[in-house]
Amino acid sequence: MVSIARKNLFHEKGRLVISVGGVAFSTMLIMILIGVYYGIFTESTMYLAKTRADLWVGQEGIHDTWHTYSLLPRGLDDEIKQVGGVKDVHEFIGRAVRAKVSKVYDKEETIYIIGFDTKTGVGGPWEVLKGKKIPRNGQVIVDRVFAIRNNIDIGDKIEVGGVELTVAGISKDTFVLVYSYAFVTKEDAEKIFGAEDFLNYYMVEVENPFFAKKVADNVKSRLESLGVKVDVLTKQEFINNHKEVIDESFSAILLPLVFIGFFIGVTVIGLTLYTATLEKMKEYAILKAIGANEAFMTRIVLEQAFTIAMLGFVAGSILSLAAASWVPSVAPEFYVEINLQNIAMTFASIGVMSLVAALIPIRRIERIEPATVFQA
C-alpha cells in the first residue's frame, strides 16, 4: 500500500534517524529502569527461591527476614517432622551484622550472615564462582558484589562480631540491594550472634509441594498446640512478602524515573510529528482539497507516530539488551532483568506515548484550511 505517512518519514531520513534515536533512548530508559526494578526483585529473593525450603516457619507476626528478626526456640524440628507431608526440616540462622572488611583501611560494611548446616548444604550458596561451596569453621563464602566492592579474594580475611573469617569461596546472585549474604557454618553463626538457644526460622521441605499450604496449616496447628506462636508461610508467600518490602522502598524512586522516560518519549515523538506536520502543511491542505477526509488525515499522523515509535522501540530494545549484559560489569550491584513482562510494559508505554504525541499534530491538521492550496 502506498503509505503517505511512511513515504513522508523516509523522505526526511535525517529527521527520522533523530526521532527514532529519541524514542530508542526513551525505550532504553524505561526498559532499563523497569529491568532494574525487576532485577532487584529477582536478585533479592533469589536466595529464597533457590533454597530447598517449601515452608518457612517463623515467629508469629514476622513475615520477612529483613525488617525484624524472628526468634524461635531450638528443638522444634522433631515436632515439625511429625506433621504428615513433611519430608525434612532445616534450621535458618541469619542476621545483618557489621563486618570489618579490611584491617588496613579499617572499613566496615553490613553483610547478612547466614549459618547453615554444612552436612546437608540446605540454606547455603547455590552457585559459587570461585573457591569452595561449603565452608569449614572459620571460613566464609562471600558474594561476588561484596568481593568486587571490597577488593576481596580467596584467602582474604574479614572480621564479624569479633570472629575472624577467611574467605573460602565467592558466590553469585546473593546480593540483596543494600547488603549481601555471606555463608558460614552454623557453629560460627552461633558464635557471631551469641544466641545458641534460638534460631530464626525453620525451613521445611514437604513431600508434595502441591499440598504445601495444607501442610503449613497443619505445622502451625501442631506448634501452637505446644504453645509456640508461629506463622508458617509457603515459599511463594515468603518471597512475595520480601518483594513487598522492596516495592514499598523503591517504587517511589523508580516510578518517577520511568515517568521521566515516558515524558522524554512523548516530547521527542510529539516534536518530530509537529515539525513534520508544520513542514507538510501545504501538502496536507492539498490532500484535503482533493477530497481526503479527517479520518484519512488522522490515519497519516497516527501511522507516522506509530512507525517512529515502533522503529524506536526495536532499536531501544536491542540497546537495552546490550546494556543489560554490560551494566553488571561496571556496576555489579545492578542486575537488569529484561523479561517478557518488562518488554510488554515498555511496548505499551511506547504505544501510549505515540498516541499522546499524535494528539496535537492531529488537532493542527484538523485546522488546516484547504483553501490555502490556491495561494502561491
Binding site: I4, E283, K288, A289, I290, G291, N293, F374
Partner: protein, 236 residues
C-alpha cells in the same frame, strides 16, 4: 445547449454568489453577485487582473470556502449547505484540481501522486497502480513515473498534476494558472491535455492571465472588482 445537457444536470451552476471577508467597515466583497454556468465539454477561461476575485471564485465553486450568499450547484446538487465531510466526498468524486505550483506530494513518485485520489477513494492498490500507470503512459510520462517531483521538469510535474486531477474521472476540472510556471511549449502541451479531457465530456474552468490559454477556451469570463464584467460569449 440541450445536446450538451444530455448527460444530465449542468456540471456547474453559480447563481448570484457573493463572498464578503471581514465585517462592518472593514468588510471586503471579494466576489459580488456572480452568476454563470458551465456545460459538459466546455472549457471556460476566467480572466481578470490580480485581486479581481478569480481565485476566491474558484475556491467557492470548489467547496473549499462557503459563500456569504448565493447558490452553487455541482451536477444539480446545492453545495453551499453540505457538511465538510460531504464536501470532501464531492471534491473527490466530481472535481479535479490543477494548480499553478503543481502541488505534488514531494515524498511520492509521479505514479504514487496520481494514485492518491484513488487511494483516498478506497480503490485497491493494484487497481490504482494500473489505472495511474495507464494514464501516465497516455500523457507521455512512461519513463518518468517512478521519479519524484524534484526529479521532474515543470512541464512533467504539471502533466502529472493533470493526470492526478482526472484519474477519478471528475465532471469538472478547476485549474488556477496552470501554465504560469511553464514555458510556451510546455504550457501548450498542458493545455492540450486539459482540452482533450474537456472534449471527452468534462467541464473546465481555468483562471489565467496567460493569453496562450485563450485559444483553447470555449468561453471567456472577465472579472473585475469581484464582479463578472460579462457572462462570457461562446467562441465557437
Amino acid at each position: 445547449m440541450d445536446e450538451k445537457l444530455a448527460g444530465g444536470q449542468r456540471p456547474l451552476e453559480v447563481k448570484n454568489v457573493t463572498k464578503i471577508y471581514g465585517s462592518g467597515r472593514t468588510a471586503v466583497k471579494a466576489v459580488n453577485g456572480v452568476s454563470f454556468s458551465i456545460d459538459r465539454g466546455e472549457l471556460v477561461l476566467l480572466m481578470g487582473p490580480s485581486g479581481s476575485g478569480k481565485t476566491t471564485l474558484l475556491t467557492l465553486i470548489s467547496g473549499l470556502l462557503k459563500p456569504t450568499s448565493g447558490s452553487i450547484k455541482i451536477d444539480g446538487r446545492e453545495i453551499t449547505s453540505l457538511t465538510q465531510k460531504e464536501l470532501a466526498k464531492l471534491r473527490l468524486e466530481k472535481i479535479g484540481f490543477i494548480f499553478q505550483h503543481f502541488n505534488l506530494l514531494t515524498a511520492l513518485t509521479a505514479l504514487e501522486n496520481v494514485m492518491i485520489p484513488l487511494i483516498i477513494k478506497g480503490v485497491k492498490e493494484s487497481e490504482s497502480r494500473k489505472m495511474a500507470a495507464k494514464l501516465l503512459i497516455n500523457f507521455g510520462l512512461e519513463d518518468r513515473m517512478h521519479h519524484k517531483p524534484e526529479d521532474l521538469s515543470g512541464g512533467e510535474q504539471q502533466r502529472v498534476a493533470v493526470a492526478r486531477a482526472v484519474i477519478t474521472d471528475p465532471d469538472i476540472i478547476i485549474a488556477d494558472e496552470p501554465t504560469a510556471n511553464l514555458d510556451s511549449e510546455k504550457g501548450k502541451e498542458v493545455m492540450e491535455l486539459i482540452h482533450a479531457m474537456v472534449k471527452k465530456g468534462k467541464a473546465a474552468i481555468i483562471a489565467s492571465h496567460d493569453p496562450r490559454v485563450e485559444s483553447f477556451a470555449d468561453r471567456i469570463l472577465r472579472m473585475e472588482d469581484g464582479r463578472l464584467k460579462d457572462s462570457g460569449h461562446s467562441r465557437t
